[in-house]
Symmetry: C2
Subunit: 359 residues, 2 copies
Amino acid sequence: MAQFRNFRMVNYVVYGRGSFNQLDEILAPQRKGDAPMIFFVDEYFQDQQEFLSRIPLRGKDKIVIIDVTYEPKTSGVDKLRDDLKAEFGTVSGIIGIGGGSVMDTAKAVALMMTNPGSSVDYQGWDLVKVPGVYKAGIPTIAGTGAEVSRTCVLTGPTRKLGMNSDFTTFDQIVLDPELCKTVPANQRFYTAMDCFIHCVESLNGTYLNAFSQSYGEKAQVLCEEVFLDKDVWDDECDEKLVMASYAGGMSIAYSQVGVAHAVSYGLAYVLGTKHGIGNCIVFDKLEEYYPEGVEKFKRMVEKHKIEIPQGITKGLTEEQFESMISVSLGMKPLWENALGKDWESIMTREKLRALYERL
Amino acid sequence: MAQFRNFRMVNYVVYGRGSFNQLDEILAPQRKGDAPMIFFVDEYFQDQQEFLSRIPLRGKDKIVIIDVTYEPKTSGVDKLRDDLKAEFGTVSGIIGIGGGSVMDTAKAVALMMTNPGSSVDYQGWDLVKVPGVYKAGIPTIAGTGAEVSRTCVLTGPTRKLGMNSDFTTFDQIVLDPELCKTVPANQRFYTAMDCFIHCVESLNGTYLNAFSQSYGEKAQVLCEEVFLDKDVWDDECDEKLVMASYAGGMSIAYSQVGVAHAVSYGLAYVLGTKHGIGNCIVFDKLEEYYPEGVEKFKRMVEKHKIEIPQGITKGLTEEQFESMISVSLGMKPLWENALGKDWESIMTREKLRALYERL
C-alpha cells in the first residue's frame, strides 16, 4: 500500500483580477458537439443580471440557480443529474460558480452524469471508478478550499461524507478575486475562518509533512495579513484571501483537519449548521487544544466585530446529543490527527458531550 | 487574447521521504503493452548500484545515463529520440531522475517521440502541437523548479531557448527529499540559489500578482530558513528545500525572472556556464538592482563558505562580449519585468558590457 498519497492536481488554474472574462475562451475547446455547458450558479447571484449576463452562454447552454439554504444533499445531486439527463441526454461540462456548496454540487453532478446509481453509492474513498464530464470551479467567496480538493461533501440519508476520489478534482479553476468583492462581511469572515481553522488544525496535527506545512503556513499567514494587519478591506485583501483558500486547500494533501471539523460535522448533521459558521462556533471554545490559534481567532473576531452565535445546543434532546456525538466520533482520521493514536481514551463521549453543551 | 495565463499544472504530485519506493506502483497504470519505460538518470548516479537497483525496471525498460557536462542541447535531444525510436519504435514513457538538465532532457525527448522534425523547430512559445509520451520528473537536487515548469531549456544552433508549451509540463512528479541527501554542498548551494534568486527577481518585478507572490514569498522564506537560520544540515533542510524548489517553480506562473537570469543566459551561451553557478556569479554583483536580496545572498555565501568564481570574463574577445550582450538583451520579457517598459534606455549595451566585465 502507498505510504504517501499521489495527489491529483487541478489540471488548469487561471488566477487574476478579471480572469472570469476569459471563461468563454477557456471552455471553447471543452465543448463536445452541441452538448451544452451547464452553469451552476449560487442563488446569491440570481437577481444580479449584470453578473449573469457575463456568463458565456452558447447554443443550448443553461444556467441553473443552486439553492444553498442547506449544504448539498445526495438527493439534490441525484435530482439535478436526472433533470439534466432528461433535458439534454449528455452535457459538455458543469461549471460551478459560487461558494463551497455550489462547487461541491458541480463536482458531484459532473461525476454522476457518467457514474451509474445514486451519489449515496459513492460517499467514501475511491469508490468513483469512471471520470465524470468536464468540470470547472469558480469560487465567488474565499476559504473553503473546495476549488482544489478531491472531495465534494454531501449529506446523505445516513451520513455526511464526501465522494473522495481522483476523479472528483476539477479539470479547471478560475480564480478571479473580483468575484469576491461583494460578499457580505460576516459571510466572508466565516468562510475565511474555515481556511484559517483548518490551517491551525493541520499545522498542529500529527499527519503533517513539509509539503502541507508550507502550504498551511502560507495560507495562515495570508489570513492573518488580511484580518489582523490590514485596517480597511481593499482589493489586495480579496486577492490574498483567494490565494489563502487555494493554499489552504492544497495543504490538505498530506494533512488532516482536527477537533473543530470533527465537532462541527456533528452540528451540521443534527442541526444543519453550515460548515463555515459551525467551525467558528466550535473553534471559539477550543483553547484547550489550539491555544495560539484560538487566541488569534478571538482577536480577529473582535477586530471585525463578528458575533459568534452562542448557546446553539441549548435544549437539544438526549437523542440529538447522542447523534451528534456519534457522527463526530465517526471522523476517526480527524481525531487521530489531532490527538494521536490514543485519541479514543482522550476524547470520550462524556468529554465530547461537555464540549457540545458549551456551544 | 488572454490576459492571464491559464496555467497547466502537473497532473499528479507525490511528496514524501521514501516516496521514490512508490514509483513501480505509480508507473504501472501508465504502461502501454510491452512498450518500455525509459529512465533518464543523471550521470551522478552511474556508479551508485544501490540507487540504480531501486529503479523499478520491468520487461524492456531501460536506464539511460545522461551526461550533464553541458546543459541539454537540441542535437542531444534529437539523438536520444532517434536512438529510442530505432531500438523500441515506441515507448510507454520517459522518467527523468536528476537535476534540471536531466528533467529538461526527459521532457524534451518525451515530446519529440511524437512531434516530427527536430527539437530546434519547437524552441519558442506554444509551437508544440501534439502531446508527447507520458513523462515523469524526479528531482535529486532542489532549486531548479524544472519539476513544475512548462518549459525545457535547450541550447540550439542559434539560441538557448525552451520548448514552452502546455504539453511540456510533466504528467507526474515524485518529490522525495531523501534523494537529495548526498548532493555535494557546493552544488546544492548553487542550485538552491537558482530558486532564491528567481524569487528575488520575481518579487521585485513588475509582472507579479498575488498567486506568484505567495509562492515566491514562501520559496524565499524556505531558502532563508535553510541557509540562514539553520546551523547544521539535516533532513528537515532537504525537505524544505524540495518544497522551496517546487514553490519557486510555481511562482513563475504569473511572474518573470529578471536581471540575473538575463545576464546569466549570455554567460551560458558563450562560456557554457551552468545555470545555477552562472546566476550566483551574476547576482553577486547586482546590489544596484536587488539591494536586499543581494545582501542576504552574500550572508548565505559567507555562512556556507562558498567561493563564488571571480574574473570569469577576463580576456574574452570583443566578439565574445558582443555575443553575450546580444543574447542577454534578446531576453526582452526578463528585462521588461526587471526594469519596466523603458528598460532599453536603462540597460544599454555599454552598461551591460560594464557589468559583464565585473564578473
